[in-house]
Symmetry: C2
Subunit: 328 residues, 2 copies
DNA sequence: CTGAAAGCGCTTACAG
DNA sequence: CTGAAAGCGCTTACAG
């Protein structure tokens, strides 16, 4: 049902004018007599005419799609979806929308689509850069690319300072006079993990006094509950620094069960964490999303001539995770 | 930098063939000599040529954009963003991507864009239908529309059965022999709230025996912590049924503070809730996203001739929120 | 203020 | 297997 095919020609005919005039009305060109404009407008509205985006794009590509591609790597990572919201709100202010691509292994196809559809820019989540071919493609078409989490000298990126975050946690443990701490990470070490743990270790080394650190890496996605139970059995353990809040959640439960006094610290401050009173490092997804939105818009506006490299400062959130909430 | 303007013509020229032949290669048309195909392919690759999506669309609209619009209402609602993930994964299986529009007040503009860009379908989140004009527009262009949360006889929709969920909670309270219960909802009553509370009330009425129910509606977005403190001061109170988990979180904290024994029940089972041991009704966002993805793809495949109306069954998750976790 | 014409980059019959 | 031509629905100078 419905003519899929009302075109500008039909509108022109019904209004008894030329194509150009209708087009002018469509584009708010002032050089149209008011009475003509109104007549055309009413016909457009009567027939619910919507001009073909494809044709418009084809003819004046400068007006590239007002939308930005977002490449989200494989499944997982709650954090990415938290970013989405503020990112989207930011883009909306300039009437851009977001086009989401799940990239499992092959970013190639997604980047191709970004190019083919003439998107205005692309944001890449995760700690891996695009492949050489993909970068080449974007460059040739002058489509700006912004990394979130990955970084290198030549790219546009924005991310939180993981190294500083790690240092802050070390600082905290030192202030508590702990001497025995475990770093619990993922087996498949990411850029983030490397930086966080490096920051931690560097700070501890500076301290000079003896400090026993063990690092344990478990398979990605594995539940930390059981391991945490075992670790917390050691009453001499000062605390555990989990690579992420998600990993820490199992620890929170184990601690509760065992009435342990160890200090658990996560990383990310995702939504649930405040309710679990988890001490953690906040990387406000709200800030990140907002800044990412602004950055990509700036890149687009500057026609990809600026370079954007922002490092945001994370913030240690000390909660009562080490306190007496569950015992007494 | 980079020629934005390598076209099929350039490729044809460099390969010494006609446009048609390049086009055939692009479209995997078998009627091309292998040697020719390979030559063209290598030139395409050498120049990183990507055909213009706009031109292709214009010329054969059947191949509508392989993407689906998602209209997300105003800010808020964590739940929507949880749906996103599984929805996206589902669409990806058929090489569709998702285009996200934040609609504050005006869905009009978003729908226009959906039409203008020739998206294959649209999913509308939230409990309000599109306006008449928007529905008309979609119908004229034969673009299928699927509601999540809203429903009416004539539309395609998918949602969880809120009425049944409300009943289940009533059932649970009855089994606990409670006689005094508060329903805590939002002032700006949604379809969901109406159905949940109606299910609850209906079930209680059937019970016959005296049951004291008060319903309190607070301004949307208001923190429930203080109110919960007050309510839980009443030691005769059996429990509180919060319209949503998010609302219940304040209650969980108040209960903890006051060492209350009241039973708190939320609704949604969003990610944090399991960690708070909140009893709640699960509406698996994973299931909903997946089913929504399947449904919209089916609508697209059937050329919008099927009608899809799915009601999913929620599930009561009894956790220890009423138990002795925090006391002893 | 307005119309007719050229052209955007592709695909699709139509001939060969 | 391949080329030349028409046409998709618009915008943009160019004349009037």
């Amino acid at each position: 049902m419905g003519d899929q095919n009302i075109t500008i020609k039909d509108i022109a005919q019904k209004a008894g004018v030329g194509l150009g005039t209708v087009s002018r009305v469509l584009n708010n060109n002032p050089h149209v007599k008011d009475s003509t404009r109104e007549r055309i407008l009413s016909i457009i509205s009567e027939f619910s005419y919507v001009p073909s985006g494809a044709a418009r794009m084809l003819v004046s590509p400068r007006r590239s799609q007002k939308s930005v591609g977002l490449l989200i790597p494989r499944m997982g990572n709650q954090y990415f979806y938290e970013i989405l919201k503020s990112l989207n709100e930011q883009l909306k202010k300039e009437y851009y929308s977001l086009m989401i691509f799940n990239t499992e292994e092959e970013q190639g196809e997604s980047v191709r689509q970004v190019v083919e559809q003439g998107l205005a820019g692309v944001i890449v989540l995760g700690d891996e850069p695009l492949g050489a071919r993909e970068q080449e493609l974007l460059k040739m078409h002058n489509i700006p690319c912004l990394y979130i989490d990955y970084y290198d000298e030549d790219s546009n990126y924005i991310h939180f300072d993981n190294y500083a975050g790690g240092r802050t946690i070390a600082e905290y443990f030192i202030s508590l006079h702990y001497r025995k701490v475990i770093l619990l990470g993922e087996r498949d070490v990411s850029l983030q993990q490397r930086d966080r743990f490096k920051g931690f270790n560097d700070r501890v080394k500076e301290e000079g006094s003896p400090f026993l650190i063990s690092e344990i890496d478990i398979p990605n996605g594995e539940d930390t509950l059981n391991l945490s139970r075992t670790l917390l059995g050691d009453r001499k353990l000062g605390g555990i620094f989990y690579f992420s809040d998600e990993m820490a959640f199992g620890g929170v439960q184990a601690k509760k069960e065992l009435h342990s006094h160890a200090t658990l610290v996560g990383y990310d401050d995702i939504f649930p964490s405040r309710f679990l009173n988890l001490t953690t490092v906040r990387q406000s997804s709200e800030t990140l999303g907002r800044e990412a939105g602004r950055s990509i818009l700036e890149l687009i506006r500057s026609n990809n001539e600026n370079k954007i490299q922002k490092v945001l400062e994370p913030e240690l959130i000390i909660r009562e995770s080490s306190e007496s909430l569950y015992e007494q």
